[in-house]
């Protein structure tokens, strides 16, 4: 069955060029070792009989030709989607960056309000006005960035109504985070789309076969790595198409590969505008303790705790611990470590903890301080008036300061929280792009189309002059399991050559004529002979090598010159011509001790000559 299959495939391959017009194989390079063989279409090309024939297919050219012939060139829906993402990501990242800048400016403005307790002072007024103007200016920039991000989305109203619906819902969110999330989801979906494109999308099938044809016309299929399978115990190669994604699918994968570098350039590079916005956010957070006067508060709390410890009163020791607990909370804000990293996830995690501390500062700390103050004053009574005064001032100032700044603190925290949301979703966008690019690279591993044929190890007898046919067939498969259309067929023939001296043993029918005195009356006696002949292979001389094909050597013949010997062996110097068809020689009968002359013919190769 397999042999039949191979025969049919081979027949088709060989018939193809002649049925549909012979096609050269410009997309295929043949090499003997590292030397490129100059192929010329149908003309047989010399190939050294023991060489390693490398068959290299120019994938790009081949797939381009297939795309042109199949009409599958140009864009696809998936490619359009990837290209849209490529275009959409920069304005969306820009909008997120402007949003972060605006939120940071708003946070800075609220932090400034905390610092400037007396807002009626001229300097404070001027500072606040400048910050307000900056906020409005940043908001204008944000509007411009939002416009550039949103206007292209209109295209989806008709091209992808489902996505447009999601975008419409997302844009109604409090900020632009949900919009970026829709984009992020789209990039994540790419992962599945790419896998599906590879599994179900159009493919190009490539088949390469090699067949050895000897001087008798016998054909032997040869094994080509990757293009056939050989069942155990069965030396017959079974042809197999190699399937690879077509040019359009590979264009889709190439486009997806560009996403991560694009996002990295926009987001992760140290000198990018986005990182500068992140730096502004970090700077605002770092300046917060100074604006809140936290270091002075921490110092006052430490002094109060120490006074309570130094009082020697056991009952006051727990109060010292409670004061230190409040101090530690302030210290955690004051000493918060904000990483200098460009890794957005890392930055977000660090800042997130700080915003939780800020929430606690505003929501819980004033009540905690009030309770501590009341209980401490009661415990102190009238015994330690100095500490009581210190406690009232330290705790009272801290609490009233927090309450006075409650609104500004809330605004600050809200703006920072929203900036973090923008930062996080942008980081997720970058991660999604990274994942899509990674997947595209994984899937874009080209199926190797090159193969080779080591003539020294082929499972067939080979002789100089034998022909080696290499056939290539390329077909386009519209979808997985779908119809395949042969588009490119061609073949190249090689003639095996052995250069220099080489020897071969062949048989022949010899007509032996004695040239001395013998008992019997013999003339041109027909006997079987065996010859061992040397030939010389010239480069680029096929007529000399395979048509005239001179040979020189020795031959043995079983003779019958006299009756008394049952066994007579003749040894002769021998010459052949025309691929060992015609023989001539002169030798001696060792038993009859008589010389002889002979002419001979090899009937098998003679018949072959007529067949050719």
């Amino acid at each position: 069955m397999r042999q039949c299959c191979f025969a049919v495939c081979t027949l088709l391959l060989f018939a193809g060029p002649f049925a549909a017009g012979a096609e050269d194989l410009p997309q295929v390079t043949f090499k003997s070792g590292d030397a490129v063989l100059q192929t010329t279409g149908r003309d047989a090309v010399e190939l050294e009989i023991d060489s390693l024939l490398k068959i290299e297919l120019d994938r790009e050219a081949l797939f381009h030709d297939v795309a042109a012939l199949s009409g599958a060139s140009g864009g696809s829906e998936l490619l359009a989607r990837i290209q849209f993402l490529e275009r959409a990501i920069p304005p969306v990242v820009l909008a997120q960056q402007k949003l972060i800048e605006t939120r940071v400016a708003a946070a800075e403005l609220s932090a400034e309000e905390m610092k400037l307790q007396d807002r009626s002072a001229p300097a404070a007024q001027a500072r606040l006005q400048a910050l307000t103007a900056r906020l409005e200016s940043l908001n204008s920039n944000l509007s411009t960035a939002v416009l550039s991000a949103l206007v292209p989305l209109r295209n989806f109203r008709t091209s992808d109504p489902e996505l447009y619906k999601n975008l419409n819902n997302a844009v109604l969110g409090k900020d632009y985070t949900r919009l970026a999330e829709v984009l992020r989801d789209r990039i994540q979906q790419l992962d599945q789309d790419l896998v599906r494109a590879i599994a179900e999308g159009p493919k190009v099938g490539v088949l390469v076969t090699a067949t050895l044809v000897d001087s008798t016309g016998k054909q032997t299929a040869l094994h080509l790595e990757g293009y056939d399978t050989i069942a155990v115990g069965n030396p017959t190669p079974f042809p197999r198409f190699r399937l690879a994604p077509d040019e359009r699918t590979r264009t889709e994968l190439d486009a997806a590969t560009k996403l991560a570098p694009l996002v990295n350039t926009l987001i992760n590079e140290r000198d990018s505008a986005f990182q500068q916005a992140v730096d502004e956010l970090k700077a605002t957070l770092k300046s917060l303790p100074e604006k809140l006067g936290l270091d002075e508060q921490i110092q006052s709390l430490e002094e109060l705790a120490k006074s309570l410890e130094d009082s020697g009163e056991q009952a006051l020791q727990p109060f010292a611990e409670r004061v230190r607990s409040i101090k530690d909370h302030l210290a955690s804000i004051s000493g918060a470590q904000i990483p200098d990293s460009t890794n957005i996830v890392e930055v977000v995690e660090a800042i997130q903890g700080l915003t939780d501390d800020l929430l606690n500062l505003r929501e819980e700390l004033p009540a905690t301080i009030a309770q501590l103050q009341a209980e401490l004053i009661t415990a102190l009574g009238t015994t330690l008036p100095e500490i009581a005064t210190q406690a009232k001032k330290t705790l009272g100032d801290l609490r009233s300061g927090l309450l006075a700044n409650s609104k500004a603190l809330r605004t600050f925290r809200d703006q920072i929280t929203d900036a973090i949301k923008a930062l996080r979703v942008t980081g997720e966008l970058a991660n999604a792009a990274e994942a899509a690019t990674r997947r595209a690279k994984e899937l874009n591993v080209g199926v190797p189309l090159d193969t080779s044929l080591d003539l020294q190890t082929v499972a067939a007898e080979r002789h100089p002059g034998d022909l080696l046919h290499v056939g290539v067939q390329v077909e386009h498969i519209e979808q997985a399991g779908g119809k395949s259309t042969p588009l490119i067929q061609g073949r190249q023939t090689f003639r095996l050559e052995k250069y220099g001296w080489w020897a071969e043993t062949r048989g022949a029918l010899l007509l032996v004529d004695p040239r001395g005195e013998i008992e019997r009356d013999v003339a041109y006696q027909p006997v079987p002979g065996l010859g061992y002949h040397w030939h010389y292979g010239f480069k680029g001389r096929p007529f000399l090598n395979h048509d005239l094909a001179f040979g020189l050597g020795l031959s043995l013949a079983l003779l019958d010159f006299q009756d008394k010997d049952d066994f007579e062996l003749g040894i002769a110097a021998s010459a052949t011509i025309l691929r060992d068809i015609f023989w001539v020689g002169y030798g001696r009968n060792l038993q009859a001790k008589s010389n002889f002359f002979y002419v001979g013919v090899n009937p098998l190769t003679l018949a072959e000559l007529f067949r050719r």
């Binding site: 605006t102 409005e136 600050f412």
Partner: protein, 131 residues
């Protein structure tokens, strides 16, 4: 309709008060103002979207976006106030949405027959927020 946080609904039974409120809203130089004209379910939907979108102008220090719902544009004093806006010649009876920038100049109008959805409204707000 959900509760409106950022929308001023002009009264229909007191044209003078409506005109006064509209004038005050236009006079606020720190907001991008979206005027929505008319009545009916479609207009209510637009008002609902616009009110949500106005949240994007809130940076904790006063909202930079605001919506005014003008149900009766023909009412005399309100009409006069509208005609006093820079670029008012672009507003006619088919106008559904008009957006004024920080300098009270009409930047965008959306008319009956135009696609009016959240994205278009956000684009209009953003256009109004440009320098």
């Amino acid at each position: 309709m959900r509760m409106l946080k950022n929308t001023l609904i002009l009264p229909v039974d007191d044209p003078d008060l409506a005109a006064q409120q509209l004038g005050a809203a236009i006079g606020d130089l720190h907001v991008v103002l979206m005027l929505v004209f008319g009545k009916g379910a479609e207009i209510e939907q637009i008002i609902d979207w616009a009110d949500q979108l106005a949240d994007k102008g809130d940076f904790g220090l006063g909202n930079l976006r605001r919506v005014v719902w003008i149900r009766e544009r023909e009412a005399g004093p309100v009409g006069e106030t509208i005609r006093g806006i820079k670029g008012a010649e672009t507003i006619d009876e088919d106008t559904v949405v008009a957006v004024l920038n920080f300098h009270d100049v009409i930047k965008v109008t959306l008319r009956q027959g135009d696609v009016i959805d959240p994205i278009e409204l956000e684009i209009a707000f953003a256009a109004g927020g440009q320098p």
